[in-house]
Symmetry: none
Subunit: 303 residues, 5 copies
């Protein structure tokens, strides 16, 4: 299939990036069931690092095997698969070329108290494994956040010099951000905007709530209101913050919930002009058949 107008249009936003980066972005946008639509669904599996193996894989123990995760990504027809080094290595040869890969190059874990992550992969690893790009988490607000942002700058620079895209998980926490604020509308908009300003090719944020968190921002939202009770309007506001929709933004729902809620979220994302979903635990913690069924229902909404 040749590139569609929707994909050509998206690539046109990334002006100044190399043809190499655009080729890799094109591979993501032209793969799987959503190929050519300009929308994407990505399977991320970094929960083993973040929450430990049992909390991640005990509900569906076949998922302890990295090959299962590749199979899920390939058979479901999602746009891409993102994971830390070891998970990608165990399968990269067997499934070479079958699904666009994103190497998550930093990771946190639940044993440490502080909000930070360690570099656990390199741009060279990404090239060795045939990835289209790298993923990186920042925690805007955290004590460690300026250091994380500077690491992102280095990784991003190196990745782009090799034609790899950067996917930025922008997850505010700490500092002036309250617990509720972590999904607050103003905070998520801010998170998306910072990632865009950092040159992210794709931005990953949590789906925003109606909450406005920063006191300093409240008067602005009073004066220029967003219809905070409409999930689609909330998504549209996040897309505004992402260069008026000229950056790809994908949303995660976070903790597991039921299927109707997930599908409602996807409808809101589509309605608000978002580019898609990143669905981890809700897919790999189910049986393969159920997971593929769910992912297909979500992709039907985006198609």
């Amino acid at each position: 299939m040749l590139r569609t107008e929707a994909v050509r249009n998206i690539l046109s936003w990334y002006e100044g990036e190399t043809p190499g980066l655009k080729s890799n972005l094109s591979r993501l946008l032209m793969h799987g069931r959503l190929a050519g639509t300009g929308r994407v669904v990505i399977l991320p599996v970094d929960q083993g690092f973040e929450h430990g193996p049992a909390r991640s894989f005990a509900p569906n123990p076949t998922a302890y095997d990295p090959h299962y995760l590749y199979e899920l990504a390939i058979e479901s027809g999602v746009s891409g698969y993102a994971a830390p080094l070891g998970l990608l290595e165990q399968g990269a040869d067997t499934f070479a070329g079958e699904v666009p890969l994103i190497l998550k190059v930093n990771s946190g874990n639940s044993l440490v108290s502080s909000a930070d992550q360690a570099l656990t992969g390199t741009v060279e690893d990404a090239m060795r494994l045939g990835c289209i790009g790298v993923g990186f988490t920042i925690y805007p607000g955290a004590d460690a956040s300026y250091g994380m942002i500077e690491e992102l700058r280095e990784i991003s620079h190196e990745a782009k010099s090799r034609g790899l895209i950067s996917v930025v998980w922008s997850y505010p926490r700490g500092g002036k951000v309250t617990k509720d604020g972590e999904t607050g509308l103003d905070i998520i908009a801010y998170a998306a905007h910072m990632a865009a300003l950092m040159g992210a090719t794709i931005i990953k944020v949590k789906l925003p709530s109606a909450h406005i968190d920063l006191d300093a921002a409240k008067s602005t939202y009073d004066k220029y209101p967003v219809d905070v009770n409409d999930a689609g309007a909330r998504v549209r506001h996040i897309m505004q913050a992402a260069f008026n929709g000229k950056r790809i933004v994908v949303f995660s729902g976070g903790a597991a919930k039921n299927t109707p809620e997930l599908l409602d979220e996807a409808r809101a994302i589509r309605k608000g002009g978002g580019n898609g979903s990143i669905i981890g635990r809700n897919s790999f913690q189910r049986s393969k058949a159920d997971a593929i069924d769910l992912l297909n229902q979500v992709m039907d909404i985006y198609a």
Copy 2:
């Protein structure tokens, strides 16, 4: 489309190579009309460098425009497009991700007397432009040949370390090789074998004639005869020399000839177990409609 058994089998030959290289090779093998067959047709446009622009493009002047060559590669559904730096640059952004690209990183020209080539591109260029690999010419036999082989070693090492494939144009000339010998069966077999020993991912040689050139080799061919009058048998012998068929070999016919001859060549290549054709002047010197028609007839044979 997922990888086929034919493609999985070919990738298995490249043991010890990185998943990155296999992903890029897979992209070539899974693109275009021959996707999944294990056979490829590649459009090469290095004749402008080799023979000058008018000899190359005057028969079909729209081909002076690099965008035309991209369009020809994309619309015809060939497996990939190989060209020097400038040709790829002029179109790499417009057509990013639409056809697998191979950057030809050395080039000769007709103004110099000696058989040699100059490095005209780099592995970094290939990454910047989103190429799946690099192409390199060696002239075994030429005075400059040992130097060319050493350059190939360096380029190949660097390309592989970034997951790019290497395509080696192995074209003997000079030294003990006579003019007729340049397409002699023993010489082409030797050329293919040397490229394989150098670690080439894909080997490009001329279609061999029935001629045996080296005196030292004649007694061997007398004792262990090849049916030199059968073009398929000649191709099969070349495939033997390419690790008993465990390396991808594509053949060029060289100087322009008529369509029936070209199709006969493709049938012989298929019969002998070759992996396909590299068709330059015979395509881009015709009108686009005629070229696409010819390429499709060739690909029908390989499909």
Copy 3:
């Protein structure tokens, strides 16, 4: 002896790694009394650094001499010997090629209060001494843990680029981990999983207890119970966390205990699908005859 099916199967898990790394891993798996079984017993002697010389060697003073430790490793027929720089240097020439060596490249000591280690060896040292790989300790949970993980990433990358394996001692402590939690089932599973995600070739963890430590994990273990009172079931859970058994995991018992207990541990490791034991103080603190006798009893269980 040629490689067995058990060893071929294990090597197949390490897809995408170089033939050089697989050759070195093969050397470990094909050495000593357990050659070809897919199971290993490794002699580690880093206690001198960790606990001081007298606590380590006073019970068997001949072990103060590094040559003794080489002799013990060679004569007992264990799979490999792991130690810091000085111990390996004092014997590397005399015993060159007689036992697979692993250079422990970071070390802590008991004089410092903080949970951290210093780099005390390099990948170049490992090559100079003819080692098959390097060993590295991380303390997930400790304040220094993210720094340690990043050091591991660099060491591991450099080691693999030279074909050396990485053995990761993953020993959680500090942060949210309680003292009992250091051997808690959930914590050890997490520790093994993190090492696997970091690309460890071989993972070394402590044998887990029945304790579940992290509050956040308790509901998962309630819902998807492990038979925590069966040591074999506990080991099996750790192997799940190690890519469903597709990474080599060896267990240490920690503080000295009696022989029947040690043998019971080995039986539980075998029953749970673990790959073997790492036995330090329980071997080198006994007389050579007693140590060899014990190691042979353990290896009999694994054979």
Copy 4:
């Protein structure tokens, strides 16, 4: 099997070399049917590069497949297998760790008139493929010989710094060396001595004839005669030139001959204190059964 006294004695000659290099040399000396004897038989397959594929493999076409050559090396129980890059790559993963490998890092070919070789592999390739060392050809006497010797110095230095052994093919030709002189007793002694002076770990020369070639050397051989009609005495003279037997020297017979002649050569090499044979065409140009039979007869002589 632990190292024997014969092997310990040989390793003691290489004083000042790193334990890493001695470990790799030990691997060669402790592998296969001759393990522990201090003698070696090596399978070299560089004739495809040197003479072309048909002259090399047509007599036994299964040998066109690189896996066949690995199988021959492994099943016959020879000490090691030496070949150029492509041949080692196609099998390095499948047969990782099953036979000591030597990467031939320079190669000549029969299409070029001049006596020279091109670098076709690197020390990094050797590490990536798990080789114990690198092989390098010099042509003392040739116009290009000083350049080749300088390349050897660089390769050797880099190889040793990573613990890899160097095997030097020392083949005089050109300059003051006549055609008969290429196997002349004085010339072969000179060739072996130069390789020893260059720091070669293992020296490969042709079996010397009774001919004395250099005029300047004749008076010396008149005054201090060698029993040139005794092949064993000729070998003993070569061993003198190799630091009085303190360097490993292996001999090649060159062009194919019959089995009794080959066995007589092996007896002479043993009688004269040589360390073994390097047997290429005489093994891989026969059927596998015949080749293994021949290699075993040769190894029986050395055992």
Copy 5:
């Protein structure tokens, strides 16, 4: 004078080190009055950096002149002279080749509160000045200790790659070490062992007291007692910790005391198998005649 058996034996311990390092170590062991005995007395002058000039040199003001210190080292016949950069530079030309020099490459001073040192010299300086090696201080236990250990690893690696020996001043302080513990028997044994594990060529520790400092070690010393009231037995325990006496260990007495005490210490060191003394303030704070007299009395004990 040729090397003695005692020196040959010592050099044999340093297996795997280069002939260059052994040559430099041999120069120390074959110099001065103790040449060939396997024992050494070294003159160190780093007190100016550590305690300031007046506290160091006011008792014997001629010692303010660096040439005086060279003269003292040469005329007394000690084995070597160790000092920071400036002291060695002022005299290195005048006295080139007259006494083995050791460049102390890190230094602390009394104006700073924290237990740490700064790098004050380089391996290149040591080569420029004709030194046989470099000296480096670590403070095991101190907050800065892991960083110091990593610096030592780098310096040591660089020094050895140039054939220079490393002399490690291993002086525990801080962390779990009490003030009395700084010379405690268990702590000094630990300090010596860590230096050996780090690859030190020569270890310098303080003469241990009868005190046992670490609670964790007390039960070991109860169970495997050392005759702590016998200074010779205490030294013998330190030598055990130094690879069972296979590393050179020299002792310092620390704060100035009277001559009979110093001589008793030397007798205890000799009795316990130590390799000698390092005597600074007790020599250079006396008149040259007195200093030479004292040093000769000490050397008489060791001779």
